[in-house]
């Protein structure tokens, strides 16, 4: 790759380093693995930069590579199953159309549940965690997430909404069990 291309790559890629690391950390759960993952993704992106269509969405392109490296290299080595542990009709999944979350529940999450949030995120199967990370923390659109993960847009929505419900349900359950919230059903 010639110098101008390398400079163009660096100008596009390095502003996204924090963002890529944050996502990688949530994917792998380990700082050292996250660093390796980001380095590998950046290197592959650099090698494939000629294929990047100028003017299109570089962040989505880079995150597609990051996700592929994670799914193909990292998840394969881990014990995590390739597919989600539960089907679309899993009875453990909270029902759609959840009731209003109450002010004290928000407060309990704000003040007590930071660490538990990380653990709850780590517990989400990656099929659900990835759409959640890409949408909630990186603000990709449903269409971009569908392209990054190479799944239909309807699947993105169902997994994303379900991940949010599962997370919320787990956090509130933990807050009640820990005494941060009164044992009261949400209204």
């Amino acid at each position: 790759m010639n110098a101008p291309d390398r400079k163009a790559f660096e100008e596009l890629a390095y502003p996204l380093l924090d963002s890529a690391y944050r996502t990688a950390l949530r994917m792998t759960g380990q700082p050292a693995s996250a660093e390796d993952l980001v380095q590998e993704a950046f290197l592959r992106a650099f090698r494939g930069f000629a294929q990047f269509q100028r003017g299109s969405n570089f962040k989505a392109w880079l995150f597609r590579i990051l996700t592929n490296v994670f799914l193909n290299d990292y998840r394969r080595k881990s014990r995590e199953p390739q597919t989600a542990d539960f089907s679309e009709t899993d009875p453990a999944d909270p029902a759609p159309g959840s009731p209003a979350i109450r002010a004290e529940e928000i407060e309990a999450i704000r003040t007590h549940l930071g660490d538990e949030l990380s653990r709850a995120l780590d517990r989400l199967p990656s099929d659900f965690r990835l759409p959640f990370l890409l949408s909630t923390f990186e603000e990709f659109s449903y269409k971009e997430i569908a392209e990054i993960l190479e799944i239909p847009i309807g699947t993105v929505m169902s997994r994303l909404f379900r991940a949010r419900r599962m997370l919320r349900s787990e956090l509130l359950e933990y807050a009640r069990a820990s005494g941060y919230l009164k044992d009261q059903k949400p209204t």
Binding site: L25, K59, A100, L117
Partner: protein, 258 residues
Amino acid sequence: MNCSNARDRLERYLDGELEMESNLEVVGHLEACQGCASVFEGERKFLDEIRRHGEGIAAPGPLRGRIERAIAGDAGPARPWPFVRAFVPAAAAAVLLALFVSIFSSGTAAASPDSIAKQAAAWHDRRPSSVVPLSSGPELASFFSSKGRKSCLHEKLVNASMNYGYRSACVENTGPAGDPTCWWTAACPKSGCRMTHACFKAPPGLDQVWPPGHGIRTVTVGNRTVIMGHGNGMVCLFVMDNRGEADRLVLAINSPRD
């Protein structure tokens, strides 16, 4: 719209994924229904808390160096000498300045909305797509108020685009022929679309072909759409990546809520 319809759209509404018409229906329902407004607000706060938890995580300092070394090893010793590295951006800036001067300068052929749109679309396509925070460029609001240039549709257009999640990519505050003007390009992380905005002194002769104060004009240039306004001796325009995004912006501009 009833409560069930509104709640079916809750996530897509909060994620900014609804079409404009559907979005406005939800907004209308939330204004009338306290129960749904409370559910939506609770969910929004919940997601805000989750997001807040993810803030502040940054890559460890040495990681960038590691990547740079890996890339350097991959690319070979291609890094130019320091003075060359300094010269390349300077040369690029000079070329850009020359382009600026050639665009919209008083000496060019008679201006028309179409010619302005064409030149603006070409400029838009040359802009970098990486996004940096607005604070790294001059603050648009203070720039315009200090110049006494709260003209035409500028404020409404900027507000509407910011509300749609566009973030500033690069800002120029000097334009053709040294006139105080403002050009900036932004990207919307949601839609992946880019937008260039400019507000500058109307070129000579424009009044004859496009009388000022006649509302918004939309011009298509290839797959770009340029939304333009002309008044108070100024032209304001937005170049949008595609027609869908342009239509969204026009609807927002025309909406009384904005």
